[in-house]
Amino acid sequence: MHEEMRKVELIIGKILRIGVVTSAIVIVIGIMLYFLNGSGYSEGFPTRFSTIINGIVAGKSYAIIMLGIFLLILTPVLRVVVSIYAFYKEKDTMYVVITTVVLVILIIAMLLGYRS
């Protein structure tokens, strides 16, 4: 029983590390660009997907940092998604259901956040 759990934990840990390192690299690139070229904005910073994407295409540092921060916000979500897969792989149906409920609530919360 505990052996199964170890496998689940190690899978989740590995994927989580990839997510965290990716977001950290993006943030660091953004910060380095900030010191080279400034924020890229005369005032404020982008907070919607469209303005962030436009900013990244234009190489604006604040947009890149915001992307990295958003990726970081997604890492707990990534962990939940990978958990569902890991519990499924270990045939733990009850926890596939429990974790899926968490994911659904989390997605509802994030959609509410985007709309507000």
């Binding site: 989740i12 950290a24 921060i69 890492t75 609530i105 509410l112 956040g113």
Partner: protein
């Protein structure tokens, strides 16, 4: 450059302490940003929620690898915290910032009280091994290796419904105040459910990321998260949390509490006073 460096250093410190205690950096970040740097509470809350996520994800990598946390407990109780977080985030606009200061301060004082009470407990760290139908049904009993005592610790728990309600309250506080409210989560597992402190702290670290992610999207899209603050902070916290997760495993909880109690007591008093218009 200087302010970014300062924020990064603060992140290192907050991430390290947050990972050790399972309480998230928010408790440290928000007072420092508002009181010492004079930042608007709105941006301080946005920054602290990012620090909570960074503490959680950074420390969880180590806690998963070292088998310190209880994944099933986390998953089950996350249902409660995420529902609470949605409700809290929807209510947040209804309160003034001075009210938030007072609420923040009382949260810190409440945590102080709990830490003192724990420290005074003569019985020390008991491991609960009893059987409980809900614990058995949900398969929650687990084991961890304690590096400070160099032994494998098997443990069970009880009062899962009580812990579940406490977790809902913790989620509500997170959404409302922009803090990880990890103190509540640790209390729910450690005090109410009788889990050992180290897996409680590690599991709290894991959970607070999910709770915070729900509220963080709100703050991200309403412009509360400033890249010049949250960016360097996230990097500092990630590094700090990675280090803290290693330190926690070799520390005895009692020592950590003794260091931390005066700090949060001071900050709690200061923020309550600020909420009532007294600055010092």
């Amino acid at each position: 450059m200087n302010s970014m460096l300062l924020i990064l250093l603060m992140g290192l410190f907050a991430g390290c302490l947050g990972a050790i205690l399972g309480i998230g950096g928010g408790m440290i970040i928000t007072p420092i940003l508002t009181i010492m740097m004079g930042l608007d509470i709105k941006y301080a809350i946005g920054a602290s929620i990012i620090s909570v996520i960074a503490t959680s994800s950074g420390s969880t990598i180590a806690y998963l690898k070292d088998d310190m946390l209880n994944l099933r407990v986390a998953m089950f109780l996350e249902i409660a915290t995420t529902v609470g977080a949605i409700m809290g985030a929807l209510l947040v606009g209804l309160f003034s910032s001075s009210f938030l200061y007072v609420l923040f301060g009382f949260f810190l004082l409440y945590s102080t009280y709990n830490m003192v009470r724990k420290l005074m407990d003569k019985k020390g760290e008991n491991v609960y091994m009893g059987h409980d139908p809900i614990v058995d049904k949900l398969n929650l009993a687990n084991t961890y290796y304690d590096k400070s005592e160099q032994k494998q610790v098997d443990y069970s728990m009880k009062n899962v419904p009580g812990g579940f309600i406490m977790m809902w309250a913790a989620g509500l506080a997170s959404g409302l105040l922009g803090i990880g409210s990890g103190a509540f989560k640790v209390i729910a597992m450690d005090t109410i459910m009788k889990m050992p402190l180290k897996p409680s702290s590690a599991t709290s670290n894991l959970m607070m990321g999910v709770t915070a992610a729900a509220s963080a999207t709100v703050y991200f899209f309403n412009g509360s998260i400033r890249p010049d603050i949250a960016g360097p902070l996230a990097i500092g916290v990630l590094i700090g949390a990675t280090v803290g997760a290693r330190i926690m495993q070799v520390l005895k909880p009692k020592i950590i509490r003794m260091i931390f109690i005066p700090i949060i007591l001071y900050m709690g008093v200061q923020m309550v006073l600020k909420g009532f218009g007294v600055n010092f």
